[in-house]
Amino acid sequence: MTLLDKFRPLQEARDQLKALGADPFNVVVEKILSPTEAIVNGRQVILAGTNNYLGLTFHPECIEAAVRALREEGCGTTGSRMANGNYVDHQALEREFAEFYGLPYSVVFSAGYLANLALLSTLPGADDVILIDADCHASIYDGCKMSAAEVIRFRHNDVADLDKRLRRLKDRARCTLVVVEGIYSMFGDRAPLREIVEVKDRYGAFLMVDEAHSLGVLGEQGRGLVEAEGVTERADFIVGTFSKSLGAIGGYCVSSHQALDTLRYAARPYIFTASSSPAQIASTRVALRLLRDGRELRRRLWDNAERFYNGLKALGCTLGPQLSPVVPVILSEDRADSLAVWKELLERGVYVNLVMPPATPDHRCLLRCSMSAAHTPAQIDRLLDTFAQVFAAHGLSA
């Protein structure tokens, strides 16, 4: 055995995909045309597999702000905020996030992934416990791996199971961080947040809510599930990303606890990485304002989600448990069949994500589709027509 032998099974899996003539994990976007269209394999496709929920990636005000920052402040910051200095715009964005949530403390990170690593590797220490929903994102699992705390899973969205596990912890429940997501990235379902808050409060535990897929999507002002469920002040730490509804790259955390502000002097994923580029911060500041004022965008997003979800349902597709801008079309356990369906959709001008176990919540493959406020009704109808043709061709229609 050598250092590199462990990659052989992965390389073999990659070779098998190549032999089948499709590679869902290495799609090349030759030209991006708009939030909902691109050229892939020389063909124009409708993008229904992004996280561009509000369609802000091409918003002229975001682009203008980024261009101005690029010209005035340069391409990058070349270092971390602690070692190389804070740019005032990074601090301004932190204030704006704090104001947006009505909470006193806010920290921005260079990626949403890093926000989760920073919180989970730093907040819970060796004698503490992290209690995560089983369907949490890989960044949460990775943050747990970096932590010295004991890590326990509870059954997905199962408040009774959470309650039971907090009870088993006895006094240690007060040193426990419960971690859930606003909208789960694969099935698009929401956490039963009000009940979860009740339970964690009863045991004196702390709660972290990852709003990566729900920021801009849920709540009157788009603050996410915490706003929709009226528990913003009772969620101890709210994290999120700039890379979905805000159309850029970066991450944030807001909190009522001063410990969040202190954490920046202890969290290695905050300290030992370069801060976001001025252009990223500038476009995010504009996007956050557009998101907060984006009731019309949210209305369009949910109209589109409903049109697409109901259309797929009428085709007899097996869908996720609830209506959401994340629309999973659940296929079989057969990877080759699922790959063939995905490939044909792409060849007919529809780009969605193919997700295979173990990245899926169960043993089945799924086509992860997502809606944007920028999709037009005509595009959605075209998506549905293509799904109907491909599913009929593969014997998957009702």
Partner: protein, 81 residues
């Protein structure tokens, strides 16, 4: 307080009930290899086992759990703690 042997016997019985192919299971049976379970099925099975013993087994200890006996030891330790 249950002894290790009692925990092991209950664990073996739980596996026999939940895993159809676990008829000839013993202390040295490997969870992933011998029982024909993938890691996801093991995680789901683990939840049932946790409920049976009313314990929570931390993810951190799972890399050390290869056999049914390893799991019985972890559960026994949890019950003692």
């Amino acid at each position: 307080m249950k002894t290790y042997q009692q925990v092991l016997e209950e664990l073996l019985q739980t596996f026999r009930t939940l895993v159809p192919q676990a008829t000839e299971i013993d202390e040295d049976t490997e969870l992933v290899g011998s029982l024909g379970l993938d890691s996801m099925k093991v995680m789901n099975l683990l939840q049932e086992v946790e409920d049976h013993f009313d314990v929570s087994i931390p993810l951190n200890v799972l890399p050390d759990v290869r056999t049914v006996g390893d799991l019985a030891q972890k559960i026994h330790k949890q019950l003692q703690d």
